[in-house]
């Protein structure tokens, strides 16, 4: 088969690789119908994630079709359409039993496109498929559920739930990239009074409004803390969600949060930050970090099925899976291309889309 392979820092190729095969009875082989690229994939390509060895197929977000299952698999049969999530859960370790799959110590966690071959490929081996994949309801398209593979549960769990967003809250979300925008979408599930989005790019702030932000602040040109204080009677935001991953934005979150409030960090950080405990010790602030666990995926799936949540607006570009190299070019140059999420469509998906088009024409 063909797949997008990481060949060391700065090197990627769409190339021929051996087909995946079942290794243990809990595996499945899945044909990839629809996939997407994550900001993390770009980090890997820069060489920022040394745990990825050259030769690894990238990708941890996909929708596909079960081709073959191991002898211990009970939840899926060939032909089932499934969501493949960024997190694999062994289902057996202490952390999986506490629904903290991101911390799995039994061979799961974030492994796809990281420690083992990923899903930007024609086929993929999916370990622990019983506890790691989700059947897709018939009425939903691949693309409707695709962003459940990572950004939606990430922003919901690590941002909104860790932040304990409640009805009536003022929620400040710092960063209006895909993760920040997914935080806007999923924060709305708890009906905050106001969602305030901060970013340094006005174009992203406009986008944030279209996703549901009530107020936007350009923290490159405005005094963000002053604006938040003005909006909250001098108190600060109830919840601040960090969705960038640099020291300045984390520190901004700790400044604009109210006494007794919560700072939920979602951003991936490469450097230490300065924590002003000399001010914060008395303010009753809670700060959280975390990788997504994906325990909320079934809930978000129900909301999508009922039309309560719609992630399709993340898609800005579509490519054939075999055009993955072009897709990376476009996604990697988001500042110019305005790419949010690019969708890669396998052959089956393209075929189906053509048939539907034909049907609609007829």
């Amino acid at each position: 088969m063909e797949a997008l392979v990481y060949n060391g820092p700065g090197k990627r190729a769409w190339e021929s690789v051996p087909d995946p095969t079942l290794k243990v009875p809990t595996d499945a082989i899945v044909r990839i119908d629809t996939a997407t690229i994550c900001g993390t994939d770009l980090h890997i390509l820069k060489g920022d994630v040394p745990t990825v060895t050259p030769g690894t197929i990238l990708g941890h977000e996909a929708v596909g079709t079960i081709e073959e299952v191991g002898s211990a698999v009970t939840s899926f049969v060939p032909g089932d359409r499934v969501l493949i999530s960024c997190i694999t859960s062994c289902g057996r370790c202490r952390f999986c039993k506490e629904a903290r799959y991101g911390l799995c110590t039994g061979g799961g966690g974030w492994i796809l496109g990281h420690l083992i071959d990923g899903v930007q490929a024609e086929y993929a081996r999916i370990p622990f498929v019983d506890t790691s994949a989700y059947k897709v309801p018939e009425l939903l398209t691949d693309e409707q559920v695709l962003f459940l593979a990572d950004i939606l549960p990430t922003s919901f769990e690590v941002g909104v739930l860790n932040g304990r967003v409640k009805p009536g809250d003022v929620v400040a979300i710092v960063g209006a990239g895909p993760i920040g925008l997914a935080a806007v979408l999923t924060a709305k599930l708890f009906t905050p009074a106001k969602i305030v989005v901060l970013d340094v790019a006005d174009k992203r702030l406009e986008l944030a409004k279209s996703f549901g932000a009530d107020v936007t602040i350009n923290n490159g040109t405005e005094d963000a803390v002053a604006r938040i204080m003005e909006l909250t009677g001098g108190l600060g935001a109830d919840v601040a969600i960090e969705a960038v991953g640099v020291p300045a934005t984390f520190e901004l979150c700790t400044e604009l949060v109210r006494p007794g409030g919560t700072v939920a960090n979602v951003g991936v950080h490469g450097h230490p930050v300065t924590l002003h405990l000399e001010k914060l010790w008395i303010r009753g602030v809670t700060m959280t970090t975390g990788l997504v666990d994906t325990f909320s995926t079934p809930t978000l799936l129900k909301l999508i099925a009922q039309g309560r949540l719609d992630g399709t607006s993340f898609t800005t570009h579509r490519f054939k899976l075999s055009e993955a190299m072009d897709a990376y070019d476009v996604f990697g140059a988001a500042a110019e291309t305005n790419a949010l999420k690019v969708v890669l469509e396998g052959e089956k998906t393209q075929l189906k889309a053509k048939e539907e088009l034909a049907g609609a024409v007829a």
Copy 2:
């Protein structure tokens, strides 16, 4: 002044009574601008609430203007517009300190129009005003906040919060009167997947749809449990909210709730019910009861101020405060008049309404 006085079972009158005066330093005197009538007032008139002594002014839901405050009052000054809530909180007892004001043992709880004179009057004495009244934001009309006096926090706290409604849930609400409809409005704050409303009157079910019900079931003519099972893959509703107050509807709630789900009772019951523990002991069901505490009133107020919650659709009829006797007639015959909530407007409110009309015309 004049007031609506309970003169014993079946007897009410709009009559002259002495003006209220400050009794203790934590009291305030409030001029009533807008009030409403509760189903509980009808129960009192039937003689069902023997703790109400003849001669008591009825009413526990109003918006008014502070006229005078006691020497210990720090939160309000004359002229402040305030929401008067059904629950009075002493702010000092163990239960008030736990935000369970409905259980107040320090002289509060439900006392207005019950143990002391209420608010269906030109003026009222409001005890513990610092901890029991809420300043009304300038931009909001009396009527926009009036239903925060009882039904909105009641349905939110005792129904939705006790029921632990979560995003993605199927919520079944049994009873489509004002309390059931307020449960529909406030359940939506948590974005359930589906709100199902059950009632025996089709007219009420139509109304429920306009308030936001996704599915309605006439449990007089349909097999309600079968319908719920069909909607939930045979599992049952995640949350069942009882908003009627008779044995049959409570028992229905325990039948249609899923294993591990919650039955939140909001209805006022006059009779024991049969609890089928021989079936329920193994099903992991939580059942809750309670009077409203009103701890959520500030939250709901913020949501109203931000346009996230709108209770004005409860109003079906408007009267002058001095026409309170007619208002009771209409409200008491809801089956014929289709009354949901009737609004009583004091003179100031009427005056203001006229001025605004004049302004609009000019």
Copy 3:
């Protein structure tokens, strides 16, 4: 092998049966070293549990040694000493993923000695062993962990945790059988101010004191509600745990709980109860039911390993596994024999005990 077989109502036998074998890759075969009998086994023998078909081996509580594992098993190897729990978890269904294994819809839940052969036998097939058994720390004896198979997590989860016992609470436990006594032991983990145990047998109340009850009340001869009110300043108990399973004791719980308190039902009920909602609707009471999920077993295991919890005092009688018929006689006549829990020891356990004795003597 030989096993204790249910041969229809009133009929049990220790008889020869075929050895169990692996059926699916997630199974294990376990040699039973130590087992015990549950009150539920007596119910089955009375014919009260029609889902048990004649020919079924009884028993759902044991400690044993892994003999053989299926090809998908990753957590255990032959020779591992394991706790076999009353609840089997498939690890894959929605309820298992929420740690509600008792509600498992994937083939687990309470199945051992119920829907499939149990553990009062020389060997047993344990399905889903990866997610249903627990490795026993080397330093602990079988008997130290044996009661983790059912009564300790049952009373902890369904009584203490559902009841939300907190430091400083007054906890009333109705029923001083094994389940009630296990509730005493595990309630102490949260340092309530007072544990009050109620029973109709003075002998059991004495026992309750030795397990840690601060106050005991004979509710057959004393006015239990009056005593509780006296102990709580007229308020009632913060938490009432029902550990009997008859209507009178459940109703007693609802009378002695304070406003805002919790009634946690642990008892297995055969009949409906009368719920006095006409009094309870306003009292803010939470009532819970449930089968154990065993999610707390690892926590309780740690506490036993650290000497913070000791269940060995439940053992009143010890038998060889092959004397299971005698053990049932003794356990079934608890009123005369004062049996709490009877321990059945397989050959290996007896051998080891003898060696230790020899060692101690030498």
Copy 4:
């Protein structure tokens, strides 16, 4: 009267000052019977708390007797023995209504011996006495409840509850001063599996053992992180409580906590710390800060009354109130004197002690 007055950095005196008088109807005047000195008082004397103006009477921890109450006071009458807490609650603001009294915006919070005159005096004016003082049960001595004024609820709320200590946890407490030791005492209320105390002074570590630490580590001479990892199978502590207030100990806490664990900061910090988000972002760690709210004081009082919690072992030295200057000398030189808490006894207390002694002798 006489009182301990702060006269600017480095200057304190036991001197004559005017008697306090009622200022508003919610005030009380309290005769101080027993008081103590806090580490914070030493900070004030160093000039580290510039919000304290010269001339202020110090002290925020006492037990006394109500002398006089304002006209709005309903909970106390002259003669009542009361605990005076470090936190004053107006009972009316948003934060007080959420039981976050430490964040009170209505004139309370930490004000005694800070923004207004404190309790190291013969008499003190106690604002908002209804919501800020606690009646002392007759059977308890002043000293049994004295440490409820600050250190016990501080360590319980800001350390143990913020840290979400649960049965079976490994809790690491960094710092074995009064706050760290109070964390040991109150962590035990939740029966952790192991309490590990870290300090650089062996003498304090010995003390920690006597308070209930299971393991002690001298983090000046041992590799603390390695020791913790060894104790926890390489995972880290479930909860780390910072009870020192310097950057190194906070950073240590973030290193020794397990993935998914909690760092609860109790220490008062004067400098920023470095937060290694480049490691922590993925570890699912929660970090909390806060001043005590004292919402747990009634709970801790119940536990003391029942003999479940005993704070009297904090007392290392006793003085007459009029010897407050000597008491400061001893408390300020804790490294030499081994002072933990010094008790100041007013005249009445001394008189009573003499009488009791006489009674005992007779």
